[in-house]
């Protein structure tokens, strides 16, 4: 599963533009801006005067047509399905098993897999022995043949990110090589354990 950053941002922007446009349209009509500023809206422009109503009760332009109700139902159902799909895409379920590279090249039935949990634990153990690392959490995401990894590390006192990043690189590299992947995109988030200031006398 991908990160969906582009999809999310595009759909959010579209929704935002629709809301913004609709809100401004109604607001402009409601406050009589066109009349006050002597603007002439283009012909057929909706909602121009503050005594207009949002949904006139005699708005039955299409409701008598045979296609109107099936079309309305189909459109709503489609919208519902799309929104459901978008919602479901948000839960980022990590794959339970990761496929070791090159094992699936010859025959897809004999792919060698490693449990996500086992590999995560191994990398975590590898990382927490680094000097200065208090605790760590490693997760593999994405498609099982080309996963990405996210690492959270909490640093203790006396170390800086500079030293950690070097050691971390080794651990990730070992995991990558042991599974035979030719790339392992890694995102590392470092935090520092809270501690009291200690003075130098």
């Amino acid at each position: 599963m991908r990160d969906h950053t582009k999809t999310n941002r595009t759909v959010l922007a579209l929704l935002g533009l629709v809301l913004l446009g609709g809100g401004l349209l109604v607001f402009a009509g409601g406050t009589d801006i066109y009349r006050r500023w002597n603007l002439t809206p283009p012909a057929g422009w909706p909602l121009t005067a503050s005594r207009d109503v949002l949904v006139p009760s005699d708005q039955t332009r299409w409701t008598d047509m045979g296609w109107w109700w099936p079309a309305a139902i189909a459109a709503l159902a489609l919208l519902l399905l799309l929104a459901l799909a978008w919602l479901c895409a948000q839960c980022r379920r990590p794959p339970r098993r990761l496929t070791v590279a090159d094992s699936s090249a010859d025959s897809s039935e004999e792919a060698v897999t490693v449990s996500n949990h086992a590999l995560s634990d191994a990398v975590t153990a590898d990382l927490t022995v680094l000097p200065g690392v208090r605790s760590g959490k490693v997760r593999f995401y994405g498609p099982s043949t080309h996963p990405r990894t996210r690492i959270r590390l909490e640093l203790g006192t006396g170390t800086g990110p500079e030293q950690i990043v070097a050691g971390l690189h080794g651990a990730v590299e070992r995991a990558r090589r042991s599974a035979g992947w030719d790339s392992l995109p890694t995102h590392v988030a470092l935090s520092v354990a809270r501690h009291r200031p200690h003075r130098v006398e």
Partner: protein
Amino acid sequence: MTYSTPHALPGHDGGPPPSRPATTHARVPGPAQRSGPTEDRPRRPWSARRIPACLAAALVVLAAGALLFEVVWVRTGHRATAWWATLAAELAARPLGNLWILAGAAVAAALGLWLVILALTPGLRRQLPLRVPADGHGQTRAVLERKGAALLLRDAAMRVPGVSTARVRVRRHRATVRAGVGFRDTADVKDDLTDALRRAERDQLALARPPRLRVRVRRSRK
């Protein structure tokens, strides 16, 4: 054979499976190469905007579901539910100049603007990107939380002789250090402190875009 279809499926139509990993491979080093000249100054990662997306999707699902239910309910010969009848009557009766309609429109416009801003800004403001040694393989990006950077800077400040208290606030482009001086001349301490902090910021923190330092010292009360 049927049970193995999910496994065998990717291999079936020959063309896509070999090309798909190939395209992802080709794409994977792409950003790294493009960011080659700016490798030492990575930008901060963009948030996936998962929570707003979840909320927006849930709201759209609710709204579309309710409307769909209502349409089908009415078309199958039932009477419209009470809330729908009320809502339709209100929308048909209230003119645009009505306070409720105006307030609703203003809220919708503000929400829309907020969504557009969310979609166009990177987010993750509390994470400071770190310099990561360049490697040939997978791209590594690292971030340090602002709070962590503040703690590390505070530790560095406390190691300077003469500093008895230090408070650090890190923002995106500026780190403010307020130190209380117990002994030594405050001007000397300030110089040492600025040096030490600058060194810590450069060497220990490895920040890709080190925030500008602002150092304030004053004699601490005894």
